[in-house]
Symmetry: C2
Subunit: 246 residues, 2 copies
Amino acid sequence: MNETLDLTNGCESCPIKHRAVCARCDADELETLDGIKYYRSFEAGQTLIWSGDRMEFVGSVVSGIASLTQTMEDGRTQMVGLLLPSDFVGRPGREFATYDVVATTDVVMCCFRRKPFETMMVETPHVAQRLLEMTLDELDAAREWMLVLGRKTAREKIASLLSIIGRRDASLKLEGMVGRIVFDLPLTREAMADYLGLTLETVSRQMSALKRDGVIELEGKRHVTVPSFERLMDEAGDDADGGMMA
Amino acid sequence: MNETLDLTNGCESCPIKHRAVCARCDADELETLDGIKYYRSFEAGQTLIWSGDRMEFVGSVVSGIASLTQTMEDGRTQMVGLLLPSDFVGRPGREFATYDVVATTDVVMCCFRRKPFETMMVETPHVAQRLLEMTLDELDAAREWMLVLGRKTAREKIASLLSIIGRRDASLKLEGMVGRIVFDLPLTREAMADYLGLTLETVSRQMSALKRDGVIELEGKRHVTVPSFERLMDEAGDDADGGMMA
DNA sequence: CGCGGTCTTGAACTGTGTCAATTGCTGTGG
DNA sequence: CCACAGCAATTGACACAGTTCAAGACCGCG
């Protein structure tokens, strides 16, 4: 997943420095942050944080993908967030975690000790401002997802998920979001099901259906080719503009 | 809904001054806010803001209830937020609205002209800090709701909605959330359906079922009595603690 | 080669949606 | 005061999307 992730130079060479909570910080502020931060690696499948745990740190995903998950007593689980590089984990001012955070792929986190980070939030507006922006974006994403969960059919749900992942991937590679798109699914069928509020059987069936109908092509289980992104968007039931008026 | 809402004294007598975006502001800051604010009333059923509209203002719900709604081209709609008194409407830094905002009851809003409000956000940290807190709370609520939409049965969904409304109402009346609870539903069956990702027929059926099973009592369509709040929580499928570890 | 994942496919079942008829409530006008 | 219109809600019958349970395929790995 991460080719060569060089963290020895500190923030200078950090791959997420333009998008993370620290994106707005000046040199002084980065200095302060440097004093309270440390890196941690997690393997795919590992749980970074258990719901109910005391939070020792907050932090940013540097590389890899993690998921925020909620579980009911009887075992039903719902993924409530997909954490990509630069996304923020944890809530300043809250002592205990409310969700499980699980590494979907290998993950590297840039962690800040919680207490000093909270102090910094009050004293330096740049961190708080950036965090507000990021939180507003996540809120929008969550609400977007509520429409998917509440009103879309299984086929539309799958198409929605694929177009989100495809879009993210394209923007990462600086490609346009038109025509042919190729990417690897970072999620198992079960994780997809948990995200979409479906069973893994239904996910599998709908993936097969989309393949049969030529909306996607599959090599192996994870490698996806989308011949026409417009077609995929259409299947997702989104407006053609893809929420561009946002 | 609003007995006597006296707004002539400005912020002094404002019923939401402890919980709104302005809750942390000192006298000076309130002064500044006063210069950019105005009140607006809306009638039940009226649309305050259309998705895609240019946002002239952001602001707080002073009294009444509004809903945030998203609609697909074919008419399927999903409510993505319930706006109660003190809740914030609009997103600083965004020019166009992304959701419809509809008055569910008569509503009074305290509006701030957007541009000057945005300037203020940068200059006075108190507004931004409070907004961050509120946004984080809303994000949590949205994620909570994703579990409801994605994994709960129709019956559990109804019970979840009733317990949320009941809880809010109890805390407003400063009652405890145990044993007998009585409140009025501020939503039509259709609005409930839009919130829960169900049809209004299913909502109606499940309301009848909960009534038949003694979980709730109904007088007319809107007046609800919950003999045992614990029983209701149980039907909602939530842990007994009701998310107290948050 | 066989073993343990992950994924696919099938068949039967079921919860929720759909369509349609009916009830009940509220306010209006005769 | 009753009749009636108009709307919200209830109820029923049936259809169907998605779940459940179960069998098997695929694939990498010892």
